[in-house]
């Protein structure tokens, strides 16, 4: 048993060495295949990263799902305060904040950067606002009901549920996510075919060697092993290249995205592939390589028999 294991590991070590040697010996051809696989895999990986980031960002938003009540402009502060008290007593309301017209103007001046321009206005154009935080923002129906109730109040000019567009974004993200899966499936198939074809060419190139090895008593398992190794290696290195491409693109976009985020008053940073995701990517690459070469070897090795 031990002797068997030693023979087995010796053979595998030998094949790994020769496979690596061949990859190094034909660097251009190997690099081309790896680049094709890398670019093919980089596309779904990149989209996955984008969607992951969008999801991460929007997750922060929907926790603060709130209703903004824009009051009629002529509502006095005292009336607004009274209204706030009334609303606080409604079931399902956790908190009500009152933003007076002057507060709103100050805040707007601060954040918008139009401070000086606003000084030119004769009067404050902003309405007073009540922000209502529902106790259970996660239950859309309850929130919806509350929204209807608040709309009915006389002093309310306009009521807006800030959660709406977050929900729409989420729905779109779900679609995009599925799209990525479909795309990943199709491109995975493309990788499979690429590797299968490369291995087919490798088998054709080494026809003589395969024939001689069969005549010398080489088993099919022995003969196909280097091709399986080559397939796994190409898939793995292709996945590594996809990882590198995505990392490079993110690095390239990072400063631009931070600048954009800063404009929105956020210190958002783009997050690349996590270590676990990268591990999955590499493993998937290797798996695709193994399947692709396995299928190719199955089909083409049998055809080569000594004659």
């Amino acid at each position: 048993m031990i002797e068997f294991l030693r023979t087995y590991s010796r053979r595998h070590a030998h094949v790994l060495r020769t496979t690596l040697a061949q990859t190094v010996r034909a660097p251009v051809a190997s690099l081309m295949t790896i680049a094709v696989i890398g670019i093919t895999l980089a596309l779904p990986t990149g989209l996955y990263v984008v969607i992951g980031n969008l999801e991460r960002v929007s997750r922060g938003w929907d926790a603060g799902g709130q209703i903004s009540l824009f009051l009629k402009r002529d509502t006095a502060d005292s009336a607004a305060e009274k209204l706030a008290d009334r609303i606080r007593r409604i079931r399902g309301v956790a908190r009500v904040d009152y933003i007076s017209r002057s507060q709103a103007l100050a805040e707007f001046k601060n954040l918008s950067g139009f401070g000086n321009a606003l000084n030119l206005l004769n009067e404050n154009p902003l309405p007073p606002v009540l922000t209502v935080h529902p106790t259970n923002a996660a239950e859309p129906e309850a929130v919806e009901k509350l929204l209807d109730q608040l709309r009915g109040i006389d002093a309310v000019e306009f009521a807006q549920l800030d959660l709406d567009w977050v929900r729409r974004l989420h729905a779109m993200l779900v679609i995009a996510e599925r799209g990525v899966f479909v795309l990943a499936g199709l491109l995975g198939l493309a990788v499979l075919l690429t590797i299968g074809n490369t291995i087919r060419l490798a088998i054709m190139n080494r026809r003589d060697e395969i024939e001689v090895m069969k005549l010398m008593g080489g088993t099919n398992t022995f003969i196909r092993r280097p091709f399986l190794y080559a397939g796994v290696l190409q898939g793995f290195l292709g996945a590594a290249m996809a990882w590198a491409i995505v990392a490079l693109v993110l690095w390239f976009l990072d400063s631009a995205i931070s600048d954009l985020a800063a404009l929105y008053g956020s210190d958002l940073r783009v997050q690349g592939l996590s270590a676990a995701d990268a591990g999955v990517l590499l493993a998937l690459g290797a798996l695709l390589g193994w399947i692709g070469s396995r299928v190719s070897v199955q089909r083409h090795l049998r055809a080569i028999e000594p004659s």
């Binding site: 023979t7 010796r10 053979r11 030998h14 003589d208 060697e209 024939e211 001689v212 090895m213 069969k214 005549l215 010398m216 008593g217 080489g218 088993t219 099919n220 022995f222 028999e305 000594p306 004659s307």
Partner: protein
């Protein structure tokens, strides 16, 4: 060692390449198979090395019924034989050493055992000083000697050769024959297909003559008759 009983071989869409072949070769014997091109010499060797299977009849090689040996046993069956080819079938992407080592690598031997055996084999064919060269730079006679070293490096019990001197001149052919005689003297069963009558006469061994796929003459029988 090799026993054929009423063996027929028909390739699809052709007439019989071999018809009712009967002979028996003992362990350690040296036999020449001769006849015109198309007489069935190569087909006979292909049956013995299990490149082809008999259509009818029973053939036993090394104790194995070659008509019934399952496909996955074929590689192990071939490890008991060494095959020498007319066109040498050497691989030009590697050194002489690696060519000769191939049967041992295929069998999964350890590197240091491989080194010893390969050098011993190359020593027998007097090519020890050329182990690092690519076989493409060697002469035809030297290439065939590499082929022979590769055929005997794993110490097979049977040595098969299909026109081993077909591409060589007289002097080189005799060198090659001497090698086969050497292995025969050391107990290897040797079977050589050739139409080189001079070579056969020089060896003075048993000869099976094939004609149109049939055994036309077997010198073993004539010896029997004379006795």
């Amino acid at each position: 060692m090799i026993e054929f009983n009423h063996v027929f071989k028909r390739y699809p869409g052709e007439h019989d390449a071999l018809k009712d072949i009967n002979f028996k070769i003992e362990r350690g014997e040296m036999v020449f198979v001769t006849g015109h091109s198309g007489a069935g010499k190569t087909t006979l060797l292909k049956l013995i090395s299990l490149i082809e299977r008999p259509t009818r009849g029973q053939a036993v090689v090394n104790g194995k019924n070659i008509g019934r040996l399952p496909l996955h046993r074929v590689p192990y069956f071939r490890r008991d034989m060494g095959i020498v080819f007319q066109n040498y079938k050497l691989l030009f992407d590697r050194s002489v050493y690696d060519n000769v080592a191939l049967p041992l690598v295929v069998m999964g031997l350890e590197a240091r055992d491989i080194g010893k055996r390969v050098r011993a084999a190359l020593d027998k064919v007097s090519l020890l000083n050329k182990e690092k060269l690519n076989p493409i730079v060697l002469s035809g006679g030297e290439q065939q000697r590499v082929g022979i070293a590769r055929a005997i490096v794993h110490r097979p019990t049977v040595l098969l050769a299909d026109e081993p001197t077909g591409n060589l001149d007289i002097v080189l052919s005799e060198e090659i024959l001497d090698l086969f005689l050497y292995f025969h003297q050391h107990g290897v069963t040797v079977l050589i297909a050739t139409h080189d009558q001079r070579l056969i006469n020089r060896a003075g061994k048993r000869m099976i003559v094939l004609k149109h796929g049939e055994v036309a003459h077997d010198t073993l029988d004539s010896v029997d008759v004379r006795q």
